[in-house]
């Protein structure tokens, strides 16, 4: 592990460990109370999920149209991260909703479209794992469709009538909430970058191993 990478790990750990301390200091929200603090992990996770889905889709498009194996490795790593951060979004959201709305789940536009997008990326991983020869191309095409969902999920709260808070909540955040929120966004983004680098390295090493097996078979 090189020095830059170690510093990156240290930064991610420090930021992520300090985030809950900062969140504890933030004021409570008037109508939702204490449970609104889930927002500081829920929304950054959603942002990172969108980021991962976009990276996966773009890398998959690069793999499909330019046949770049490196892009496919990045896409595979980003797809797994979309599923991981999507799972966080889909679990922390209902925990907040139980208190704020009185129910765990509503089949409204935002929640349903997020679930569908998450399921597309789960399908990507399943196809890649069990699809056999040529599964990489098939899954790459799925990722492009998964990426196309991102803008719809994002604007769904503004277009359709939904119980989910709108995207206007973030720009209108009051002073005491804005700082900790963007700090959490930063820590999730740094962590995402670190995990993406680690997971891409795993794909790279797997490709190296496959290449080594081929060389061993030839000899």
């Amino acid at each position: 592990m090189n020095k830059g990478y170690s510093l990156f790990v240290l930064l991610a750990v420090v930021l992520f460990a300090f985030a809950p301390v900062l969140v504890a200091e933030t004021p409570n929200e008037a109508t939702m109370g204490l449970v609104q603090k889930i927002f500081y992990y829920h929304v950054p996770s959603a942002m990172v999920m969108f980021m991962a889905a976009l990276i996966c889709g773009l890398a998959s498009a690069a793999y499909l149209f330019r046949t770049r194996p490196g892009a496919d490795r990045i896409a595979a790593a980003a797809a797994e991260l979309t599923v991981v951060f999507g799972l966080i979004v889909l679990v922390t959201g209902p925990l907040w909703a139980r208190k704020a709305w009185g129910v765990w789940w509503q089949w409204d536009a935002r929640l349903t479209s997020t679930l569908l997008m998450w399921m597309i990326f789960v399908a990507y991983l399943l196809v890649r794992r069990f699809g056999g020869p040529g599964a990489e191309k098939l899954s790459a095409a799925m990722a492009v469709f998964g990426m196309a969902n991102v803008p719809f999920v994002y604007i769904s709260v503004n277009i359709w009538r939904t119980v989910h808070p709108t995207t206007a909540v973030i720009p209108k955040l009051p002073g005491g909430m804005r700082g900790p929120f963007w700090f959490c966004v930063l820590s999730f983004t740094v962590l995402f970058g670190l995990l993406l680098a680690l997971r891409t390295r795993l794909e790279q090493r797997r490709a190296d191993l496959e290449h080594l097996y081929l060389l061993a078979d030839e000899e």
Binding site: F16, P20, P27, N28, E29, A30, T31, M32, G33, L34, V35, I38, F39, Y41, H42, S45, V84, L87, I88, V91, T92, L95, W96, A97, R98, K99, A100, W101, G102, V103, Q106, D108, V157, R161, T162, V163, H164, P165, T166, A168, V169, K172, L173, P174, G176, M177, L191, L195, L198, R199, R201, L202, R205, R206, L209, L212, Y213, L215, A216, E219
Partner: protein, 112 residues
């Protein structure tokens, strides 16, 4: 004969899709068009687009929220730790396999 069977199958599929769609439409009509009203929001009220901070929290608000909040934060930490561990484990497995293979290839080369 085969053409007639294919056309018949297609007609049956179209009919099934139409029946399904009309069934779904009927169900949607019966369910009504009004969106669900969440707790704390009255009928006809617009979705919240701004958070308002307050200094103190009503007493009855405090207890029920704590388990949900702790579960959410605990879940995030648990998922991320398990995921980091899983990447590390998979990476170690690949590295081990590479070392084994390299030593096997080297041993075969010296035998030759």
């Amino acid at each position: 004969m085969r053409r007639t069977t294919t056309t018949g199958m297609m007609a049956l599929m179209v009919a099934l899709v139409l029946v399904g769609l009309s069934g779904a439409g009927l169900l949607a009509y019966q369910a009504g068009q009004a969106p669900p009203t969440p707790a704390g929001q009255g009928a006809g009220q617009e979705p919240q687009d701004q958070f308002v901070p307050v200094k103190s929290l009503p007493q009855q608000e405090q207890l029920p929220a704590v388990p949900l909040l702790l579960t959410a934060y605990g879940f995030v930490w648990a998922v991320l730790l398990v995921y980091v561990w899983s990447i590390w484990r998979r990476l170690m497995k690949v590295e081990r396999e590479m070392q084994d293979l390299s030593s096997r290839v080297a041993a075969a080369a010296t035998r030759r």
